[in-house]
Symmetry: C2
Subunit: 272 residues, 2 copies
């Protein structure tokens, strides 16, 4: 195969198989070429990925050595992306009765959702993560987007058990914002014991739901390595029950009288 064709084949392979360790002989056979040619191809791809802020190829030498694509989002492109989300959310036509903000269109856009996943995956790229956990329903697309860059499975906690998931573990917890007792369940076979997990959700008010997931995960002896939320409420009345998390956006209470929405960047910028 010619270099030009190989570059297309290899670029596609890396993008569809992030964080998968591949030994060079696999590519040598796939492209019907020599190890040194593949090695030069990888240099080119690595350089372009780095320049475009898409991540990098991690190469290891020696027996069992190979290459792995680590997707990241550069600080600059993450910042630009987050401020584009901020502008979208500040549109007053999003204000709903009760002072809520309509966000379903953003969470419904597969390209935006994928980019949010890339930013989270980039934040957590250095951590050992075996699975992404979220709670139904709105966090699901963000959880999958993040998981697709980290190449780990997604596990979904629910409000009530389903017969199609077998026996499950459940806990009751107090929701931070409404102070109501809620239930959350996770199928027993969904998560192996002692896994390292990352929790992803769309929105966090006081943090009661995420604290609930954390308690539930204790039953699986899981270690929560990171928590990422798209938006947190900037609400001084609510005392935060959770402090260790990354948020991309911070939404102030909607000013209903003046029909105004104010959105700030989350704590992400400080962390990165």
């Amino acid at each position: 195969m010619k270099r030009s064709n190989r570059l297309v084949v290899l670029t596609e392979y890396f993008l569809e198989n992030p964080r998968k360790h591949i030994q060079l002989p696999y590519f040598v056979e796939l492209c019907d070429t020599t190890k040194s040619s593949i090695s030069e191809d990888l240099d080119i791809i690595h350089e372009v990925f780095e320049n475009k802020g898409l991540g990098y190829l991690e190469r290891t030498t020696g027996a069992g050595g190979g290459v792995k694509y680590i997707p990241t989002s550069s600080a600059e492109s993450s910042k630009d992306f987050i401020s584009s989300l901020q502008k979208k959310l500040e549109d007053p036509s999003r204000i709903l009765p009760g002072g809520y903000l309509y966000m379903s269109d953003i969470l419904g856009d597969p390209i935006l959702v994928r980019e949010i996943g890339r930013v989270f995956a980039s934040c957590f790229a250095h951590l050992k993560i075996d699975a992404i956990v979220t709670v139904a329903t709105k966090g699901i697309p963000l959880a999958y987007a993040t998981a697709s860059f980290l190449n780990v499975p997604v596990i979904i906690a629910r409000r009530d058990p389903k017969v199609t998931e077998g026996s499950s573990v459940s806990i009751n917890y107090v929701s931070g914002s409404s102070r109501k007792i809620q239930t959350m369940v996770l199928p027993k076979r969904s998560l192996p014991d002692g896994a390292n997990v990352c929790i992803i959700d769309d929105f966090m008010k006081a943090g009661g739901t995420i604290t609930g997931i954390k308690s539930l995960l204790e039953e699986f002896s899981a270690t929560v390595q990171a928590v990422g939320v798209l938006a947190e409420a900037d609400d001084e009345e609510d005392e935060r029950v959770l402090t260790d998390y990354i948020s991309l956006l911070k939404i102030s209470p909607v000013d209903i009288q003046n029909h105004r929405v104010s959105v700030q960047p989350g704590n992400y910028q400080m962390e990165s």
Copy 2:
């Protein structure tokens, strides 16, 4: 930019922006090169994509002409992929109390889910589709995966309305399998009037839920262009209320006594 670098840049761009119409001057500037060089690059990418069964570049000439990447899955790779799913599902350790089959691990694997989305997107590549509609919860990842290849938004119907989505339209329908009356809601602003939609779900028994979505979509004057389900139940007792759909797999009732699961390819093969 050198050809080798350009090929990496362009391949990445197409994969992340399927079905987006791009005029060549955009690439000329992005890669700081000439139109004829870009044109040659596109020929190379098109050839590799076609050979690898990944789809093709659709080029239009004249004023406003340009290029668009249409992702598809070749008949051969779709068939291989579906039979690998079939084998996974036939594992008797998936049998749950009540004769249900545990599938959450498959639906939780972002790489498998993305591949399922590619197969659906390929089936529906020739249709005009403005949005993917699914019902919470298990169809959500498949809906996003399909949407990410068709580059259209995802709209999620729910069992009960949420304050964070504003006013909504609801219907009651009779579930095909349990003959119970169920409710389904869709936020009013989620779907513009008269849209062309594709319904995606994980599992279909008699088809009551999908018929429910269809009735709900009538309230939005939407046209249902296609219905895709990952698996359908091969159950002779249940009369199908829906006949026009594509299924990738067909699952026979679990043989609990002999602890056996039998899974067949769905009607997909016949349709394609």
